[in-house]
Amino acid sequence: MTESIALLTIFVLAAFVGVEVISKVSATLHTPLMSGANAIHGVILVGAIIVTGQAESTWVMIVGLLAIVLATVNMVGGFVVTDRMLEMFRGPGSRKKELHK
């Protein structure tokens, strides 16, 4: 039971951190924010690896491997796409350099 309470405590605290952190993001960056948050929930990959690694039947393994593929697409794709977007938001200095090259 104590572990359940500990997990519940973590859940509540993380919810407050989430709201606190996001409320400071400027509207300019809302699209990268959505895509960055998206990449983070791809960490379900960890869960997918754990269950697949304990698989005792072929059926469980096949579904587990499918979950791994999907979660990896979510995580890797999410971070790469967010990076591509953020690459556009460079400081004015580097912008000029590019224009005159």
Binding site: I10, F11, A15, F16, G18, V21, I22, S23, S26, A27, T28, L29, H30, T31, L33, M34, G36, A37, N38, A39, I40, H41, G42, V43, I44, V46, G47, I49, V51, T52, G53, Q54, A55, G64, L65, L66, A67, I68, V69, A71, T72, V73, N74, V76, G77, G78, F79, V80, V81, T82, D83, M85, L86, M88, F89, G91, P92, R95, E98, L99
Partner: protein
């Protein structure tokens, strides 16, 4: 039980995720933050391999490789204009993965672990909703299907039946965790997801992406509870909280409630737009006419829209603005919070064309300036300047704050045709005697306009 060092490693990864989100508060730190988030993810995966020593190592590594290749190739190839649908798709596969993981955990859950069983049922149901809902969202944004709300007479009844059925199956699953009940629950979830997103109109789709993103976050958190994994719990909760808040912010920016966005079309037929143009006369000009208007103006405001980005005309527009500024015209870009296909999407698209972000002005900041503006140049936007948002209670965008382009002396629309915008409704401003239309592809029109301005 996993070793202490691994738990501490997971804590470090969780902190990386929090810092990654926090770094998004400024364009200067955002990219480094995202890199840190990715590093946290890699750390978490490595820890998992070392601490859990999974069997079937070779197939797992192959699956990882396949997912990585698909993810990298997909996100490298996509155009900036297609970003929203890619985000929707990635969100969907994440939700699907969470539902599958929970299904596999069912064999481990016994009926006396009530809380774990509830979390498992929640993950299966909501993960499936997020998966199928995101796929429909993707289809709408990619215009594989109509972007207008899709409803049919029995939909509300069917939707409520689906929800009740889902809840009943979830309760059954909690009292008796059997895999086949879980599979059934998953199928019902898929159906609910489709029915949830079908009635949502094009202009509201971004809000649904954000909502489904929050859903997936919560399923990952619930998955963390089932697996007793603090990292999944923290990361999922962060995304759930962030997504919920962002959904609320966006709904506020559009002057609507989330409930109205999701169920507005189901409750009454009122949100269906006309979808086609009427036959009323408009004033069409030539690029020379428009160039004279622009060249002799003192104050010009540009309203960029998605049509600009599709035509890849951002660079030409930037050249035109520079030419006008060289002639002493004061020019600003007015950015509506939901211009493009996602909030902040237009900022990304203009940043791609290296428009200095000091020239980009937010709606609240610039809306008072339209009264004293000589010419508003609307390039490929429609819904964000549609006065129907203020005047027509039956319009799907009614209540959405808009850019007050109608208050300027003259309005110029660059449009390909009279086809209405993404929300599928007509814009009265197009028929206003002060409005001039310049038909054609945005890039060609802007190129001609630039040449004409140089000759003025």
């Amino acid at each position: 039980m996993i070793p202490t060092w691994a738990q501490i490693g997971y804590l470090v990864a969780a902190v990386c995720f929090i810092v990654a989100l926090k770094a998004l508060s400024s364009p200067k730190t955002a990219r480094a933050g995202n890199g840190l988030g990715a590093a946290g993810a890699v750390l978490a995966v490595v820890i998992t391999f070392v601490a859990y020593k999974p069997d079937h190592l070779a197939p797992i590594l192959i699956a990882l490789l396949v997912g990585t290749v698909v993810g990298v190739v997909g996100s490298r190839r996509v155009q900036m204009t297609q970003m929203p649908q890619l985000v929707a798709l990635f969100n969907g596969v994440g939700g699907g993965a969470a539902a599958l993981v929970a299904l596999l955990e069912l064999s481990e859950v016994s009926a006396d672990q009530t809380v774990s069983a509830i979390a498992t049922a929640f993950t299966i149901l909501v993960g499936a909703i997020s998966f199928s809902g995101s796929i429909v969202t993707f289809a709408k944004l990619q215009e594989l299907m109509t972007t207008r709300p899709v409803t049919f007479p029995g939909l509300p009844v069917l939707f409520v039946a689906g929800l009740l059925g889902g809840i009943a199956l979830a309760v059954w699953l909690v009292s008796d965790p059997r895999v086949w009940v879980g599979v059934l629950l998953c199928l019902v979830g898929l159906a609910i997801g489709v029915m949830l997103v079908l009635p949502v109109g094009g202009a509201d789709v971004p809000i649904v992406i954000s909502l489904l993103n929050a859903f997936t976050g919560l399923t990952v958190a619930a998955g963390g509870y089932v697996l007793h994994n603090s990292l999944l719990l923290v990361a999922g909760t962060l995304v759930g909280a962030a997504g919920t808040l962002l959904t609320k912010l966006m709904a506020d920016a559009m002057g609507r409630s989330v409930f109205n966005i999701l169920f507005g079309a189901v409750r009454g037929g009122s949100t269906l737009g006309a979808g086609e143009a009427s036959e009323r006369p408009v004033i069409a000009g030539t690029s020379e006419d428009v160039a004279i208007l622009l060249g002799y103006a003192q104050r010009v405001i540009i309203v960029p829209g998605y049509g600009l980005a599709v035509a890849q005309a951002q660079h030409t527009l930037r050249d035109l603005v520079e030419e006008l500024q060289g002639r002493g015209v004061k020019v600003d870009y007015a950015i509506h919070p939901v211009a493009g296909r996602m909030p902040g999407h237009m900022n990304v698209l203009l940043a791609e064309a290296q428009v200095p972000y000091e020239q980009l002005r937010e709606m609240d900041e610039i809306n008072g300036d339209f009264k004293s503006t000589d010419v508003v140049l609307v390039v490929g936007a429609n819904d964000v300047v549609n006065p129907a948002a203020r005047t027509t209670p039956s319009a799907p965008i009614y209540g959405m704050p808009i850019l007050n382009a109608d208050e300027a002396q003259r309005v110029i629309f660059l449009k390909r045709s009279m086809r209405p915008g993404f929300a599928g409704i007509e814009n009265e401003l197009l028929y206003d005697p002060r409005t001039t239309l310049l038909f054609g592809d945005a890039r060609e029109s802007l190129t001609k306009l630039l040449a004409a301005v140089k000759n003025v």
